[in-house]
Every structure is written in C-alpha cells, then in structure tokens.
C-alpha cells in the first residue's frame, strides 16, 4: 500500500487530531497523578557504552529502600561473589545448572557462599543481650561471632539485625565496611602486610616468596585447603616490618627465606593435623 506522500499524510492526520483535541495542562508539582503510596518510580539498571552494568553493587539503594524490597547478588570489583538476599531466592542462581540453562558454561564459584550454614541462634541472642543490645556494641558482637564461626554467617547477621532492631542493610553494611569476613575461609590464613612500613621495608618480596612457595595467588587457597593467602594493611606490623600474620599471630621482621620457611612449616603442620597424626 505504498504510494508517495502516505507517510506525510499519516503524520499530518495525527497533527490535525491533536490540533482540535482539548488542551490540558497538568500543573505537575501541585496536581499529582494518582499513584500507589509506595511508588518511587520504575527501577532500572543502567548500562555504560560498553554494555556493562554501571551498578557497582554498593548496596546504597538496598540501604535506603524503606521496605527492604531490593536484594542483590553479583560479583564485586575484586571478583568476589557477594550476595545480599534470602538464600532460598538466590540458591537457584548459584546453581551451576542455572548458568548452563542460560547458555553459559558451568563454572565453579570462586567463593561458594554457604547457604546451608547452621547458626546457633540462641547463642547469637545471648551474645547480643550480653551487650545490652546497644548499637555501639555492633562491632564487638561481630567479633564474637567471627571468633566462633571464622566468618560472619548471613543467618547470624539476620539474627543480630532482628534482635537489635537495627536495619538489616545497616548491619550488613557495617560488617562489610568493617572488614569482616562474610564467607567461610579455608584452613589457616596467611596475611602479608602491605602497610606503608612493610611496603617500603621489603613486603612485596615476602609476598612473592610466599606466592611461589604455596603456588597460589592472593585470595586463593591451596589445593589441600590448608592455607589461604591474603594481603591486608591491618596486620599492625609496626616496627617489626616487613611482617606476615598467620591466623592471629604476627611474625616479623622477616626476609623472604624466613617467610617461605614459616609458611611451609605451617602448611605441613596443617596437613599432619588433617591426617590425624600427632604433630
């Protein structure tokens, strides 16, 4: 049905219809359309010109959402898996089959979040109550929980949030910004200090030696699960720099050979314990 001028005629028809239609000016800020009470606009994740999500998973939106309607799951800028939401919802996405169904190769999670974590909730309640439920005690409570479980299980955080009537997003945010572990960690944790003192006293050479000794990169665990390697500026090396921390003990000042020796000793000890032979 194409003949010259059809498009113009169609367009002008619309123009004429609007020309004779009644004119309405809605005085927007004074007169507002009828909207549900909680309506805050449509949520949309925006993309950058390269097609990547611009969302940085900073959780700020989840924190301000008054009805806790926003949950999140994804990878942070360091590539760690983080999630923020009910395990029963996100279980599906963690399942490698979900990747396969989405046409992506199934891949193992770098940090598989444990959703089947069992948490002694009465104990968590007791810990909270021991501090009188005061908000100042939040970090002290986190430290007690981390001491017992090695990390802060999500269920424990949920319980703390409920018990202290502090918003879940605030509890989660305080735990994350406070540098607490949110995922379980394997074996002994070797932390190489990268504070200014260590860095300029030869810290990088310690890291190279340990990386070489264990054959893993920072953030990884050895194949036998005995040792996890990390870098942190909170070791508190002070005048003993360069230093490393194994679990809670600080060793320093070290040279690369000593560091290598210390780490291999610890690894061998961990292996002996795993086999059940007395150390």
């Amino acid at each position: 049905m194409a003949f010259p001028g059809a498009g113009i005629a169609k367009g002008m028809a619309q123009t004429f219809r609007n020309f004779f239609a009644p004119k309405v000016t809605r005085q927007y800020p004074e007169e507002r359309p009828q909207m549900p009470e909680r309506w805050r606009g449509r949520l949309d994740l925006i993309y950058d010109p390269f097609g990547e999500h611009k969302c940085e998973v900073c959780f700020q939106c989840a924190q301000v959402c008054p009805v806790e309607a926003i949950d999140m799951s994804g990878f942070d800028t360091q590539g760690n898996r983080i999630r923020y939401g009910m395990p029963e919802i996100y279980d599906e996405r963690r399942d490698p089959n979900a990747y396969r169904r989405a046409g992506q190769p199934a891949r193992p999670m770098r940090n598989p979040a444990r959703w089947d974590e069992s948490v002694d909730t009465p104990w968590v309640d007791e810990t909270v109550d021991a501090f009188g439920g005061r908000p100042e005690a939040l970090v002290a409570i986190f430290r007690a929980v981390e001491e017992r479980y090695g990390y802060l299980p999500e269920r424990a955080l949920r319980r703390i949030s409920d018990r202290m009537t502090i918003h879940w997003a605030q509890v989660f945010g305080a735990a994350g910004l406070g540098g607490f572990r949110l995922l379980p960690v394997a074996g002994h944790v070797v932390t190489v200090c990268d504070c200014a003192a260590c860095r300029f006293a030869g810290g990088p050479s310690l890291l190279d030696a340990i990386r070489d000794e264990l054959g893993i990169e920072v953030g990884e665990e050895t194949a036998d699960g005995g040792i996890t390697l990390e870098v942190g500026s909170d070791v508190g090396a002070g005048a003993s720099s360069p230093a490393i921390r194994i679990d809670t003990l600080v060793y320093g000042p070290l040279d690369p050979e000593k560091a290598r020796h210390l780490v291999s000793e610890r690894r061998a000890a961990a292996a002996r314990v795993a086999e059940g032979t007395p150390a």
Partner: protein
C-alpha cells in the same frame, strides 16, 4: 616489665619522653601501680579543686592542639561543646588507629591505658559530658582488654561512674570496639559506627560538638590528645608549653619507619627538625632520598628539606602534614612515582564510597599513575593529576579525602624528573620498577616543569 606492650611497638630512647615515660614502668593491668606513679592526680585536682571553665583555661594556656592530625585548638573545641545547651553530652576517645602503621595510640593503650582514661575523664568534666566512650580499633585485642579493665577499675574506685570522687559529677565510662578501616578514624565516621550504622563520614555542619552521637553534643578526641590533657593537669600548663614552637606547643608521638636503622616510636617536642627525628631512629639506613610525612595523606619532603621543623604550620607550608604522626624515610632505591601510586591506591582501596570525588576520583588518580608507570601516558595525564587532586581536595566530604592527593602533589613538585623519565622514556631513575623501556613519547608531557 619491658614486655608489657606488643613487640611490634618499639619505643626508642631520646627525644622528650612525657607520655611514654611510664610505659614499661607501670603495670597496665593495675590501677594501684598507676596511682603510685602519681596517676589520677590530675583528675582529682580538676574535679575537686577546679571549675570546668578553669580546666578549659588551663588547657588553653598550655596551647594544646588536637594530636589526631587536624591541629584544632583543644580548648576551643571543648568550649563549643560546653556552651551548647543539652541535657546529655558525650565524649569519645578516638583509638581507631586510622593509619595502620602509626604506633602512638596503640602504645599508649597497651602500655598505660589509665593515662588515656584519666584524660578522658578530665575532658568529660570540662565539657560537661555525662558519658565517656573509649572507641578502640578491633584488631588491637590487648588494648581492648586493658582498656576494659582500666575503665572497670576506675569505676570501682569511684574515679568514674556516679559521684566521681565524692563530688556531684557523674561520668559513665564504656569501651566499644570499632572496625579496622582507615576511614573509621574520622570523627563523624566514628559517630556513625557507634550508632550502629556503617562507619561513613557525615556532612558538616552540624559539627559533632553541637550535634553528634544520638543527636547530642559529642566531643571526639584523639587518645594522644587526652593523654596530654592528663599530663597537663598533673603537671602544669607552663611545663607543657616549655617545649615546642610558638603555635605548636608540647610533644608529639612520631612513628619513624622505612629506611632507618631503628624504626620505632619516638616522642619529640614539636618543632624538632625532621632530620633530628630521623637521627633519633638510628639515622637513615643508607642515603635518605626523601621522607613521607603524615601517613597515607601526607607529603614527600626531599632530604634537602630535612631541616623543616616538625610542627603543624611548617609542615603544611611544605605540603606535608602531622597527620597520623607517621614519618616514612625512603632511600635512593625507591621510586617516587611508584610510592605515590602506593599511597593513592591505599586511599582508593580504603574509600568508604560515600563521596563521589573520593570513590571515583582517587581511582582515576591511580589509573593515571599506572599509565605513567607503564610509559603509556596520555598527553594531559600530569595536568589531570593536578586538577583532579585539587577538585578532590575542594569537594571532599571528610578530612581523609581532602588530604588523599597529598603524596601525588608533593612528588609531582619535587620529583618531576622521575615522572618525566617514567612517562617519556619508560625508565625508572631509582631502578626500582620493572620499567617497560623504549617507545619514547611523540610529544612531551604537559604540566611538568
């Protein structure tokens, strides 16, 4: 009792020991031991014989300025809190140890916790605060245990709690832990953390002294400042002001580290030259090239500038700061561009994410430095570093953000030849970096003089 503090904290002899005198001599776990050494004499004098205003006048006479880095006159801050009408006021001792390599606060907390508690109680009395909180970094477990013990003992001995020393003053003491992040030491971030929220800074005004924790006037004071308060009240303001310069009086704990023969903690009068402080730490190991003064947000001074007096004004004029009291000496084998990148990267990693200039701006600074280090700079990268640094400082939400570009700006000014060699020839003058070499730039880099 030399083993009373962690082995990582080495206290060096020399300088002018005031706060450090008793460390190793008193038993940090015993109130009696501290009182034998004359402890709580200052509190007793303040509470029983002086009016709060007189205490403030005494501190003013001593000319004490905040040792947490800002250098704000302590008496003035107390007066604002005192003059704000409120039923309830809170004072917080800041032991968050923002800069992980500075040792001063940790040494005091582990070696002589009662000194901090005494200063805190005096400050609470002067400012009219009924609640005093000690906020300690969570990884300092020994310090936490000792401060808990110290506050409990002080309360049992009626030095705190209800009716202090039989007067009608009441000050409730408590010790809480705070997260170990860099930003957590910022005073408004500390207040957010204590109210059960994320430890992120808040916009000012309202200043915490008028509206802080739980919405009441809150005074946040560094532990070292409080220890000085206790010292002033138990000695005298004249004795305190006997050393130092006209504008910066008293002593300061300085952590000397890097390429020195004896890294550790020294206490020196303000105004001591940087060279003299380095000599107290056994002198530089090898030939010193420069010193980063003030921690992650401090500035670099060349070895030729080691005559600069260590006080608030002189350092600020030179582009550095007192900051966390850290003094890092580097030698000729250290690349200054890479060092600037290290500090910028620390600031970027520790950014809490609240303010955009800090969260994104510091990241962009690191990226520009990375391009220079890789000898693939954009022609305007140096101009970008300068402009962005200025904008970050201008639009900063908190002080830590404002000072974050310090190491970059000072190294750009003083070591422009190293930047030039890296950017234009891909060569590291210090021989420290694995510089890519080759591929000279077609046009010279703008912005380097």
């Amino acid at each position: 009792m030399a083993s009373t503090i962690s082995p990582q904290i080495r206290i060096l002899p020399g300088g002018e020991h005031r706060l450090l005198t008793e460390i190793g001599r008193v038993d940090p776990g015993s109130l009696a031991s501290f009182r034998e050494a004359g402890g709580y004499g200052g509190l007793e004098r303040a509470v029983t014989r002086l009016a709060p205003e007189e205490v403030i006048l005494e501190i003013e006479g001593a000319g004490l300025r905040g040792r947490g880095g800002s250098g704000f006159p302590t008496a003035e801050k107390w007066r604002v809190a005192r003059d704000t009408p409120a039923d309830r006021k809170i004072i917080v001792a800041n032991l968050m140890g923002a800069d992980p390599s500075a040792l001063g606060d940790r040494a005091l907390a582990e070696g002589n916790p009662h000194l901090i508690v005494e200063g805190l109680l005096i400050a609470a009395y002067a400012a009219g605060a009924s609640e005093a909180i000690v906020a300690v970094r969570r990884d300092w477990t020994d310090a936490i245990a000792r401060l808990r013990r110290a506050t409990a003992d002080a309360t049992d001995a009626h030095l705190a709690g209800y009716l202090v020393l039989g007067t009608d003053t009441s000050i409730q003491l408590s010790v809480w832990e705070g997260s170990g992040a860099y930003v957590a030491g910022e005073e408004t971030a500390l207040i957010s953390a204590l109210s059960g929220d994320r430890g992120m800074p808040l916009i000012r005004p309202p200043f915490p002294a008028t509206r802080g924790l739980h919405g009441v006037p809150t005074l946040v004071q560094n532990a070292e400042t409080l220890a000085h308060v206790a010292w002033i009240l138990s000695h005298s303001s004249e004795a305190f002001a006997s050393v130092g310069t006209e504008a910066s009086r008293g002593t300061k704990l300085v952590t000397v580290m890097g390429r020195v023969n004896e890294p550790g903690l020294v206490e020196v009068p303000l105004g001591t030259s940087i060279g003299a402080i380095v000599d107290l730490a056994g002198g530089p190991g090898g030939s010193a090239k420069a010193a980063f003064v003030g921690g992650p947000g401090g500035g670099a001074l060349t070895a030729a500038e080691f005559g600069t007096p260590y006080d608030y004004e002189s350092l600020e004029a030179a582009g550095a700061l007192i900051g966390s009291g850290a003094l890092l000496v580097v030698d000729g084998a250290t690349c200054m561009v890479d060092s600037a990148r290290f500090f910028a990267d620390f600031s970027a990693r520790e950014a809490c994410g609240k303010a955009v200039p800090c969260r994104i701006g510091t990241r962009r600074l690191v990226e520009a430095l990375d391009r220079i280090l890789a000898a693939t700079p954009r022609p305007n990268d140096v101009t970008l570093l300068r402009e962005l640094s200025r904008k970050i400082a201008d639009t900063a939400l908190c002080r830590l953000e404002r000072i974050a570009p310090g190491p970059i700006l000072t190294t750009l000014d003083r070591f422009s030849d190293e930047y030039r060699a890296h950017a234009e020839r891909g060569e590291c003058l210090a021989g420290a970096c694995q510089a890519p070499g080759g591929s000279p730039l077609l046009e010279p880099l703008a912005g380097l003089e």
